[in-house]
C-alpha cells in the first residue's frame, strides 16, 4: 500500500448520535511504526473514534485515512488488526477454528493458516486450549484469543481497544511484550487505554481526548520529562525567598516548612538550592518527584468523573 502515507490521519472527524456528540473534532496523525496511546476518560469518544477509523460507524463530518485509504472502505482493512473493547466472538467455535475462520476472512490461504494458527496460539499462551470451545474460555483467555485474531494477517496497523481490561498481571505483561515485538517489527499500534501504567511503558506518543476533542498530543518522553514536582523542607523562609523562587516556576505552594514547586526541568535544581542557601534558609531536604502519567492525565483532562 502507499508507504508514504501516515498510518492514520484524520481531519476534523466528527460523530454525533442525534443530539449527543460522541466525537467533536478529531484531528490526528499517527506515523508508521509508532505506538500511539489514545487516552481519555470514559465517554471521551475513544471507542467511537476507533470505530470510525475501522468503518464500523460512519463519521458525521470530517475525513479520515487509514494507510492512505479513506475510512469506511474495506480497502485498507486487509492490513489492519483489531481487538474490540467488548470482545465477543462466536463462542461455539473452538479456539483454532475461530482463528482459522477469521484468517480466511482476511483472505489468507488454508496452507498459510495451518502454520500461522498454532504459532499465534503459542504466542498468546493458549496452545494447550486449541481444541476448547470459546464458550469454555475465561475473560482473560478470550482477550488473548482476540489479540491473536488481531495479529493473524501480520497487520501494518493494530488497533487495541482496552486490550488488558480482562487480564491478570501475567496477561498484561504478555500484551506489553507483544506490543514491543510489534514495534520492533515496524507495526503501528493504536492503543486505547485507561491503564496508564501500561501506556507509560509502551507508547511513543500519546493524545489526551476530552469530550471528543484532542486536548494535547505529545511524545511521551517529553511529556514525562517536562514535568517535575519538587518538595523542599526548609526553615527560615522569608516572603522574599518565596517570591524569588518564582523565577523558576509559577507554582509555589507553602505548607508550614514544606514548599512544593513544579518545574519544567531538572537542571535548575542546583540553582534553586544555591538560591535558598544564599537567602539564609536552612534546607533539610530537596526531593524531586516524577509526575506519573496518571497525575498528568488528571491535570490535562480534568478531574471530573467521566461518564
Amino acid at each position: 500500500m502507499h508507504e508514504t502515507h501516515p498510518a492514520i490521519e484524520t481531519i476534523g472527524l466528527r460523530k454525533a448520535f442525534g443530539e449527543k456528540v460522541a466525537v467533536e473534532d478529531l484531528s490526528l496523525r499517527v506515523e508508521r511504526g509508532e505506538v500511539f496511546g489514545f487516552l481519555g476518560p470514559n465517554g471521551a469518544g475513544k471507542t467511537t473514534s476507533v470505530k470510525m477509523l475501522l468503518g464500523l460507524c460512519a463519521p458525521t463530518a470530517g475525513k479520515g485515512f487509514l494507510l492512505g485509504r479513506p475510512v469506511g472502505t474495506s480497502a485498507a482493512l486487509g492490513k489492519v488488526g483489531f481487538l474490540p473493547e467488548h470482545f465477543r466472538f462466536h463462542d461455539w467455535l473452538k479456539a483454532h477454528e475461530f482463528l482459522f475462520v477469521h484468517g480466511r476472512l482476511y483472505g489468507m490461504k488454508e496452507g498459510v493458516l495451518k502454520s500461522r494458527v498454532p504459532e499465534l496460539l503459542e504466542l498468546v499462551g493458549l496452545q494447550a486450549h486449541a481444541e476448547k470451545r470459546l464458550s469454555e474460555f475465561s475473560k482473560g483467555m478470550l482477550q488473548r484469543i482476540g489479540l491473536a485474531q488481531a495479529l493473524l494477517n501480520d497487520p501494518e496497523v493494530v488497533f487495541l481497544d482496552e486490550p488488558t481490561s480482562g487480564l491478570d498481571p501475567m496477561g498484561r505483561r504478555l500484551v506489553r511484550d507483544i506490543i514491543r515485538d510489534l514495534k520492533s517489527r515496524g507495526t503501528t499500534v493504536f492503543l486505547n487505554s485507561h491503564l496508564l501504567s501500561e501506556v507509560e511503558v509502551t507508547c511513543d506518543r500519546v493524545s489526551f481526548v476530552k469530550h471528543g476533542r484532542v486536548v494535547q498530543t505529545s511524545p511521551l518522553k517529553s511529556l514525562m520529562n517536562g514535568m517535575l514536582n519538587v518538595e523542599i523542607r526548609a526553615d527560615k523562609l522569608t516572603a522574599e525567598t518565596l517570591e524569588g523562587l518564582r523565577r523558576w516556576t509559577a507554582t509555589v505552594d507553602r505548607a508550614g516548612d514544606t514548599i512544593r514547586l513544579r518545574l519544567a526541568e531538572e537542571s535548575c535544581l542546583p540553582d534553586i538550592h544555591r538560591f535558598l542557601v544564599q537567602q539564609g534558609a536552612d534546607v533539610y531536604s530537596l526531593s524531586p518527584q516524577r509526575i506519573s502519567l496518571e497525575e498528568l492525565f488528571v491535570q490535562i483532562v480534568g478531574s471530573e468523573v467521566g461518564l
Binding site: 448520535f17 470505530k51 464500523l56 470482545f87 483472505g107 482476540g146
Partner: protein, 279 residues
C-alpha cells in the same frame, strides 16, 4: 464468493453446534412418525369401507390427509425460518460479535447474504425432510401422490424464504424481540386477510375480498400457501372450490410474482440498512 461461502459455512456450523439441526431432526422424526401412524390407521379405515365409498371419495380423503400434513409442514417451515434466524443480525450487533467480522476486508452485504444463504440451505433441507417425508409416507402407505408436488413444494419453499428475508429485514434495524413481533405480526395480518378474502368470495362480499387482497399485499405469505395448497389438491376439490386448507379463489400468478419481488426487496433493504448502520 469466498467470503459468502465462509459466512454461509459459519452459519451452518453454528446451527449444528448449537444443536438446532439435532433438535430439528429429532422433532421432525417424531412428527413424521406420528403422522405415518395416523395416516396408516386412517387409510386402513378408508379401505375397510371400500365397498360403500367410491374410489374418488377414497382418493379425496387421502389427499385431504396429505394436505393436512403439508399444512403443518408449511407452518413449521415458516416458524423455523423466523425462529432460527431472528437474532442472527440483531443478536450479533447487540453483542458486538459482528465487530470483528466487519473490521475484516469483507463487504457488509457479503455478511448479510452469506448468512441468508446459510439459512436457505438449512431451511431447504428441513422442508425437503418434512414435506418429502409426508409425501413419501402417503405414497408408501396408500400409493397415492399429490397432483403437482414440485410446484406445491416450491411455493411452500418460497414462503419460507419470504419469512426468512423478513426476519433479516427486521434484524438489520430492530432488536431481536421487536423483530419477532414484526415477523409474526405481519404474517398474522396476511393470514387473517386470506380467510376474510375466502369468506368474502363465498358470501359474495367484494369489500371483504378487497380487504383480503390488500392484506395479502401487505404480506403475501399466506397467499403463497393458498396457491401451494391449490396446486397440491385434487382436480375435483379445485373444481368444487371448497376446502379448509385452500382458498376458493386461489391467488393468481401475479400475486406469486409479487411475493417473489417482495422477498427480494426486503432482503435488499436488509442489506442496505446493515451496510449503512453504525455497529
Amino acid at each position: 464468493m469466498r467470503t459468502l461461502r465462509i459466512i454461509a459455512g459459519l452459519t451452518l456450523r453454528e446451527a449444528v453446534r448449537r444443536k438446532i439441526v439435532l433438535a430439528a431432526l429429532v422433532m421432525g422424526g417424531l412428527f413424521l412418525t406420528v403422522y405415518s401412524v395416523g395416516f396408516y390407521y386412517m387409510n386402513q379405515d378408508i379401505q375397510r369401507h371400500a365397498n360403500v365409498i367410491s374410489m374418488v371419495a377414497m382418493k379425496e380423503m387421502r389427499n385431504f390427509m396429505l394436505l393436512a400434513g403439508l399444512y403443518v409442514v408449511n407452518f413449521l417451515t415458516i416458524a423455523m425460518a423466523v425462529l432460527t434466524s431472528i437474532d442472527t443480525l440483531s443478536g450479533e450487533i447487540s453483542s458486538g460479535t459482528v465487530q470483528t467480522l466487519v473490521a475484516k476486508p469483507v463487504r457488509r452485504w457479503q455478511i448479510v447474504l452469506g448468512k441468508w444463504i446459510g439459512f436457505v440451505v438449512l431451511l431447504t433441507s428441513y422442508l425437503l425432510l418434512m414435506a418429502g417425508g409426508v409425501m413419501v409416507i402417503v405414497l408408501v402407505i396408500s400409493g397415492q401422490h399429490a397432483p403437482k408436488p414440485f410446484l406445491g413444494l416450491s411455493l411452500v419453499w418460497l414462503n419460507g424464504l419470504l419469512l426468512l428475508s423478513l426476519s433479516f429485514f427486521g434484524g438489520s434495524r430492530l432488536s431481536t424481540l421487536a423483530n419477532g413481533v414484526l415477523a409474526f405480526g405481519l404474517y398474522g395480518i396476511g393470514f387473517v386477510g386470506g380467510w376474510i378474502e375466502q369468506f368474502g368470495w363465498l358470501a359474495g362480499k367484494p369489500a371483504a375480498v378487497k380487504v383480503g387482497i390488500l392484506s395479502s399485499l401487505l404480506f403475501p405469505g399466506e397467499a403463497l400457501w393458498k396457491r401451494a395448497a391449490f396446486e397440491l389438491q385434487s382436480p375435483l376439490v379445485k373444481t368444487l372450490g371448497i376446502s379448509p386448507f385452500t382458498s376458493a379463489s386461489p391467488p393468481n400468478a401475479m400475486m406469486i410474482g409479487y411475493a417473489v419481488l417482495y422477498a427480494a426487496v426486503i432482503l435488499a433493504l436488509a442489506v442496505h440498512k446493515f451496510s449503512r448502520r453504525d455497529l
